[in-house]
Amino acid sequence: MAGVSDTELREMTQEDRVKALGMTTEQLTGRSMFIEFKPEEEERFTYPWLADVDFNKRAEIDTDKMMTTEVNERIRELMNEGYGTIVIKNPRGKHSVAVGILSRLNLIVEGSLGYFGLGLIDGPNVRIQGRVGWSCAENMMAGVVVVEKNAGSTFGAAMRGGDLVCRGSVGSRTGIDMKGGTIIVGGDTGALSGFMMQRGRMIFCGNAGKNLGDSMYDGTIYVGGDIQSLGVDAVPAELTDLDRQWLTRKLTQYEMLPEKGVDHFTKIVAGKQLWNYDNLEPSEKKLIL
């Protein structure tokens, strides 16, 4: 599948496209059927009640003396007034800042966030100049988040879509229960990263801690450094040309491509020995018997 062009991808059936992108290799039947939104169905990507914003309208919020709820309310007020670029100043590690933003927005955080920042977002482009605490961008659905420094544990937990980027190192359990999208980490990641991962991709340019990809159902993990140990049912796989192309494209996009390229990356996928999606539940078996 090496060298598949965008035009070719668009002309493929959904199933072939998914396979060509290396996103999954399972039989797309039964309960594991993969449902993908069609790009032409625009109404599925927007919420009719959200205000239109103008990226050229810029506002700043000095959060030094504000509570988290006040900060989040102020972001919504500004968006309703049409501001498309918002700068958060002096966040000083506040928790749960900028959660639940469901439309396009340029958000710049001048400083560091605490726990649960940017949870449940669906579309904004966010740049954080400092670090983030635990569970940044949990359940993120779309958009781009770039963290310039380090991140805490459970980075991108249960993430569903978009690009979540940390230029530094991240804590443990990165991408736990991840269901889609891409996590890119410039440095190292801690133990149990990719635990129960279901879909999506993770790139770690540095080292990975123990039990990487433990109990992962699907998805792909790429590691540029050493892997302390693999988790249950996480297995190495061949790094294909398609993988190399995709890694190069993604890492170049965020100016994180290592000088020596991507050939040294290790690819980890699910061994799928733990799968029982299409097995009958005990109660169902009784009905048949």
Binding site: R92, G93, S112, G133, K149, S153, G168, S172, A191, K210
Partner: protein
């Protein structure tokens, strides 16, 4: 949930009392039940600082003891002082922040552990800390309340650790509050965030070795365990590393000695810690917001990984 924090100024003395108060107040939402400080001031050569409590205070009691208790507390104080005199202790100073919380400056050449056990033999008396520079303070309420009550705002020192407690497996009272002094080791204190699941197994092991427990709080085990290892000749770093395999559960804990500050994280890295390190300052806490309370400027911080152990020298 609980919040922990630690701070060390390398090679200098600063207003550690005020800084720790700010850090712990920022962590109030992690545990509003009680707050404790273990702060290390300039050493008192040839002298010991002994902090003890003469009565328990729980969440259904007021800070001021009633008349009946007041008399009992007074009697206990008299008995403590009588026992000190009997042992030949030279009491240089005595202060009280509350009727039940006493601070003694003493000189004593005898066996300090025997003295401590003899004093603790008085009903309801517990020595909170003993050492040349350690001052261990803990009480019910948030950091500002406790700090103000014990006049910590003016305390200068090199380092300290602290804790805000959300009571889970034991009562809301002072004996279950952190930090814990690593009895009988001078100047060694511990704070902990987490749950220890082999508490009873380890406690029985420690008790069989002659160690005393004053509460049913699992965190006290870490103080006793540290004291046990130090008595066996281990370094602080050895003890912290050993704990990761010997102590079951999820935990992050900090240990301070008169000139060291250490941390250990369990094998799952399930409990948080954010760390800032520069040439002249170490600051760590359960949440970044606590570090930002004393360092408003932009800094680089990180989360230590699973099984990570660090020890810093003052």
């Amino acid at each position: 949930m609980c919040g922990i924090a630690g701070l060390m100024h390398r090679g200098k003395v600063a207003n550690v009392g005020k800084e720790m108060t700010s850090m712990l107040q920022a962590l109030k939402h992690r545990g509003p039940d009680s707050t404790g400080f273990a702060v290390y001031g300039p050493p008192h050569p040839g002298e010991y600082i002994m902090r003890l409590k003469l009565d328990e205070r729980s969440d259904d009691m007021d800070a001021h003891v009633d008349f009946q208790n007041e008399k009992l507390v007074e009697q206990r104080l008299q008995e403590v002082e009588r026992r000190m005199q009997e042992k030949g202790v030279d009491v240089r100073d005595r202060q009280e922040a509350t009727p039940y919380a006493q601070r003694f400056i003493i000189r004593y050449d005898g066996d300090m552990e025997n003295l401590a056990r003899y004093i603790e033999d008085v009903d309801k008396v517990e020595i909170l800390s003993l050492g040349n520079s350690l001052e261990l303070i803990k009480d019910l309420g948030d950091a500002t309340t406790v700090s103000s009550q014990y006049e910590l705002g003016e305390f200068d020192g090199s380092h300290g650790i602290g804790h805000t407690r959300m009571a889970t497996e034991s009562d809301v009272d002072i004996r279950s509050a952190h930090p814990y002094w690593a009895f009988p080791y001078n100047d060694v204190s511990v704070v902990h965030n987490g749950q220890i699941t082999n508490y009873w197994i380890m406690r029985r092991k420690m008790e069989r070795s002659g160690h005393r427990f004053m509460s049913s709080c699992d965190s006290e085990l870490l103080a006793v365990y540290t004291a046990h290892n130090l008595a066996e000749g281990a370094t602080l770093e050895d003890s912290l590393r050993e704990s990761i395999s010997e102590i079951d559960g999820v935990f992050t804990y900090l240990v301070a000695t008169k000139d060291q500050l250490g941390m250990a994280k369990d094998t799952m890295a399930a409990k948080p810690l954010v760390l800032y390190e520069s040439d002249d300052l170490i600051a760590m806490a359960s949440e970044e917001v606590a570090i930002r309370a004393i360092l408003p400027q932009e800094i680089d911080t990180y989360d230590p990984y699973d099984e990570e152990v660090r020890v810093w020298q003052a």
